[in-house]
Symmetry: D2
Subunit: 464 residues, 4 copies
């Protein structure tokens, strides 16, 4: 069950006569990373053309608007955030006509020093249109006197602290860069075009490549900047990496199961999380039931390792409209019930292991267990395929405040009582890292262990 | 993968101060049975109030429109059909002010003699507004001189031939009736109300009851008519059943897996179909992969019986907007690819069993297998959890014409070649009936065996 | 200032390859007769095609919808009434597929015995969709066994009592009929077509002909029915006229000034009303000021006959949006002020004659005089170019209830005090008839003299 | 008949608890000056709140959006320009959060050196969002280091060349300024508020004051800047006036007839234009006919001075929807005919003087005369209440290119032949100035005499 939201996904396409179409499809495949807004900027013969809007990719773009986005290169973006008309100016890609030509920019992540950057820029006369951190980058570029965009970028990027996987489109090149910690994924691929050439593509997740028939070449490295132009692809570094800090939550929850993230299959990472969880916290039971859909891969792993049969004991209704209302106050656990329906005839009298990917506030889990018990389960063993989440994220994930994270203030036993499970167990941090085949030096697990890899520039951990 | 569409679902509520709200939720839970339009009629103190519209339940109704639907009783309907403004008049429930008061009516099914009924009614001066068969019933009631609606119904219903699971709301009663063959499901339930009383509810599928916390009492019997009023519930028969003809396709594909249909769990029927399929057509392989989501239960059954591991080898993208466009002609198998993404790293070099619920035209299966082969599968064994579909349905299912049903004109071996599977096997009719625990006398399997239980009144089997 | 509303206008076109386009323009020119809804039915090769909607003609129809309305014949309708989604079924033309083919029908007027007709039709099994009187005519036609539509019409029309100027389109002819009293206008014209032929056109007002370049042939006579088909135009009578009862209010207010109604120019009638008014109720003054726009022609007549200069002393703001709100409660006479602005520098210290077409409730006149006094007028002489309105209309005009007509309960002197004029004078009934060059036997002036030409079938004069 | 468009109107309100409501009404009254977009910014306790949109005032604002615009001060703007989604960023008032607080700005006019200002600002790192000249002012303010907004304004305004009547709202004051030439009007008024205080109001035209019950105090002087704050109203000068250049076209066409502009009644100026025209170019005729509505005041003056009767010989249809389409190519002069209908019965056989305010391209006048001749006029004498327009405007009026101004390339006699009038006469420049009681030193008549009061900074006179 979803409670955390990743901020964004990006897409870039170079040398494809259907550049905007490919961006559209790439964003579509990455829709899970942002449902608030979508935008594409294409590089036409007459300069940048843009189409942006609030809503899902399929709703924002029409055949007409895509046809309008002519050109051989494009960048695109989907975004998650709070809604509201006043935030239309925040829809990325952002564009501006700088002294040396047009620039469009989009990124996934969060720049932790953006407030102080913004303050200084306003003092120098900059006029901001929106509230997002990307606009700082645009102003930093605008103020930079150099004629050479790559040189500009290399001066500007080191001023940014935090997480950014960025694509930039000028009048003659596509640039992609990833922060030195490598918080968010960013992958490079190529695709044969209709006319026999090769297009380069950049995306947040590799699943974007599958849809458009592109091949994954490699990850863009932390601290690397890539410049793609008619002269081909050039790679260089804009900063050394003090350490790596790849976001482990991409594997736990965010990324699509069919993506390769940080070089590993997300689906298999999740299965292994279930396997390790089973080894760490096994229990005697009659069936393993996933909380659909996010708990399914871990459940399969748990079932396989434990030998307890896997059953779709809770059926998910996929016809959830965006504007669904709660018409009656008399139905308990309504919000969960509208999506999830336990199958009483399967569960009745049984000892069940219910597996979910993570537990944030605890209220949803409480309702799920209540429904499972109402369906007649004899015992309910709740298993989480990740450790207790104790802190907010400052690197591009929209998490609840620390005070709303149940594990930040309750013991596991108290949480067990709160959600009314017979037993409750989390995956250990070590188990999680083992499942993603990574080490504590390479991954950011700050939401689990409180070790933030960068300074926070006054951002208040307890108030995020 | 969906290719057949059930026409409708109905809902009825009696003696609930949130009658329209319960109908709304009941329709919402049955949304899979009809996404074209939705409507609710409530019985307020001032007579019938209606709200209807094209689109999904969540889009048609707002808090405001539901609040407008005051009253202690209601009926509702969702419908699948072709779209178009001109069909607004077809949205059910239909309403009319007859001589003896207002009547609203909705049904699921198809009345096979409606064309000849309509012709005679127009000859007698009736003015039709739409094109659906329900309107015939309304005119037959309007022309009936009796003061007593139940008496009217008992005269009118025997004139109808075909499938109908019907709800009718007058100024003082809720009537529910099911055709003598029992083609479509229709269930009766009860629900404790906020003020301590008991509400009666009627629905096409039991999953509607789960959401609103109602208990399933029983199926309404073929040929039975139920009248619910302030005097309670009365049951009687309006016709004898020449034979039973419950639609086996409800178990194969239509119904939600968490419903009980004709007394059996749909989820378990489908698991058993997979088990029997495994026994009938076993093969050596490395993994069993469902075509999501409809092939999942049968795959679990197949895996369990065969011992071959179950894997989500094909990932479904659930963010399919209603208006998605195909922006590029250069992507092969686009329509399938946008929804389904095989996981190459899992499949590569493996012998896979791909399980789907049914095969209609063959083109989708062909594309799926093409994607699975492109992902590197060594062998692809395609298994269908139902028999070859050889004929159209005339009883409320929107099927392709006979000429478009690949099994009506090709042998299984030719189909195998067409879809390019290494092996292809269907479930046998006997196996299917065994899985639903039914006999050939109780079920209609006309789409598989061509044995239509009723006369067809000139409807052309090959041109449906 | 508008306070009464005519119900409708009709349009019919025969033998014009742009039949729907001509109906569109004809309705557009007659928009003043109905702003609630608009509709056109065209006779295409595949039968009737219709497009209807709530709103103004220019908003209801698009280039696309007009292109969809192919065919050589059409009828159209605009309507005034109260608004509301539930009344979509009332939008004319109404259409039905009768036993002998499709029929579309539209009329202007009001059938006073429609309630009793409707009651009997429902008793006989008819199902009504809306609440308007036109639907009765459709059901009467549906129940009529004859094969011949003209024969049907001649049997049905004599059953109708009241005002109706009607157009009917079948699969092979255009029929136009006017009630025996001739309450509402209905004119016949012809128009050379693009391909060298001649099209017949029918409209409520002749201004519709001007726009499309058609020539007025003549009025359709009271009691006359005209049938236009490929065989040409045939005229006959369906009933004798007990007396004529042409609506004098068409000349006073409703009709466009550039129309010829009942054979006279509306603009000149209104000028003559102003002239007679000046003769009947002259006064010494410095200027004559119209209440724009409806009082302008009478003001010109008044000025010309009296020799007192005509001035646009009140300026009308024509940018009145449909959704204008009153944002402040602190502005007196807001509703009038938003439309009308007196020019203080012209009026200050002057004796002014303010001329309006009629006075209904008195509240608007009161506000206008208040504004004129606030602008500094020394004396305000209010003149009405029609007699006191004392009764409601039952023949197609949406008038206030009798109790809201100020002249039904107050003397002229009391009204003068209420509106705070220095003097107040109405045109006499004789003066009005003289201005329209008519006699009391030819015209219905029931709203002024209470003499209703037909029985009222239980309609309550005081409660209209 | 409208062919020229004024760019804008502004509104400012200080110390009124209904500040946004008053701005709304003031914009509504000035709707004729701009129908493309509308916007209001209010100064609430939490800073600036804005609501802006494409369309008419009545459509852009709802009760909800006005309620959202809380605060005691506001500024507003309506704008005319070409349409298009991409221009949403051009809707005024523009707002920005500068270093010293929020600023909102709106102006009426055109800054002729804005292109060079913009170029320099971009070179210095400014990022522009739209294309309008107001944004330059915002950036100039942003770059100004002073803490004092009035000091900033006095430094920035002298850098602007051209026409600007401007309102600015900060966090604690309302500023109004008018360019040193005084091209566009700008008036100051006051209004008693609900709570017994006095509100200051600023508007482009005085008709805005009439609607809200405000009193006109005086014009804001050319070169004057006014600052209204809690300390009261302070006036000072930011620049000397090299000469005055009040736009004479405001009196000829733009302003509402009920406004006082540059100290004179527009209605009376226009009447005097008609009178002088009659004296300069009298002709024997039977009636004087205005082209409605813009030709009416001059026609009254012409009739009065000449003694020839005034008749509404051309009736205007006021129901022109915004989306009206031309459905038929077979109707000559369609565009004019849809709005104007000559009354043949009045005109037939008569010698008519047709009076319009101005003649731009000549095509509309040609069509009008064609219609009048078709209605049977014996002679058509066309009279224009302004001189020949020979050049474009660069000071805030959207005129056609010079090459489209018929008087820039044809003699009056050739124009007469082109429009097919029996005689054609324009008002002389001297006559026009006499009618507005002004001299050639005070007024800009550049569109008539080619004498542009300012440098044009490379704007090409022939390509405007």
């Amino acid at each position: 069950m979803k409670a955390w939201h990743d901020e964004c996904a990006v897409m870039g396409v170079w040398n494809d006569s259907e550049a905007a179409q490919m961006a559209y499809l790439g964003l579509y495949a990455q829709q899970h990373r942002g449902q608030e807004s979508a935008g594409i900027v294409a590089l036409s013969e007459n300069g940048h053309v843009a189409h942006k809007g609030m809503g899902l990719v399929g709703d924002v773009f029409s055949e007409e608007s895509l046809n309008h986005l002519q050109g051989l290169a494009s960048i695109g973006h989907v975004r998650y955030s709070t809604t509201g008309e006043s935030f239309v100016t925040n829809i990325q890609p952002l564009t501006a006509r700088l002294f040396n030509g047009p620039v469009a920019i989009a990124h996934n992540g969060n720049i932790v020093n953006s407030i102080s950057l913004r303050r200084q820029l306003i003092r120098d006369g900059a006029i901001f249109q929106g509230t997002n951190d990307t606009e700082c980058v645009l102003h930093l570029l605008a103020k930079n006197p150099s004629d050479n965009l790559m040189a500009c970028m290399k001066e500007v990027l080191p001023q940014l602290v935090g997480a950014f996987s960025m694509v930039v489109l000028s009048h003659d090149r596509l640039i992609a860069a990833r922060d030195p910690y490598g918080f968010r994924p960013l992958v490079l691929g190529e695709r044969p075009t209709k006319d026999g050439g090769t297009a380069f593509v950049v995306a947040s997740e590799s699943c974007a490549f599958d849809l458009i028939g592109a091949q994954l070449i490699r990850e863009i490295e932390p601290g690397e900047i890539i410049c793609i132009s008619d002269k081909g692809l050039e790679s260089s570094r804009f900063a050394e990496s003090p350490r790596l800090a790849k976001c482990v939550f991409e594997h736990v929850y965010f990324a699509r199961p069919d993506s390769f993230v940080f070089g590993e299959s997300v689906y298999q990472s999740r299965q292994r999380m279930g396997e390790v969880l089973s080894q760490e916290s096994g229990v005697e039971a009659d069936m393993v039931i996933p909380v659909p859909d996010s708990g399914v891969p871990a459940s399969i792993g748990y079932s396989r390792k434990s030998g307890i049969p896997f059953e779709l004991g809770i059926i998910r209704n996929h016809y959830i409209g965006r504007t669904f209302i709660q018409p009656s106050q008399s139905i308990r656990s309504f919000g969960v019930k509208i999506k999830l329906n336990p199958q009483a005839h399967l569960i009745k009298g049984k000892r069940v292991v219910v597996v979910d990917d993570s537990l944030v506030r605890g209220t949803t889990s409480q309702k799920i267990i209540r429904l499972v018990r109402a369906a007649g389960a004899k015992e309910v063993h709740f298993r989480l395929a990740s450790p207790p989440t104790t802190g907010p994220c400052f690197y591009g994930v929209d998490t609840p405040k620390k005070s709303q994270l149940i594990a930040s203030k309750m013991s596991t036993e108290d949480i067990r009582k709160f959600i009314d499970a017979d037993t409750l167990a989390y995956l250990s941090i070590e188990g999680m890292l083992k499942a993603v085949k990574g080490s504590v030096d390479e991954y950011c697990a700050a939401c689990f262990d409180g070790k933030y890899p960068t300074g926070l520039f006054g951002l208040d951990e307890s108030e995020s």
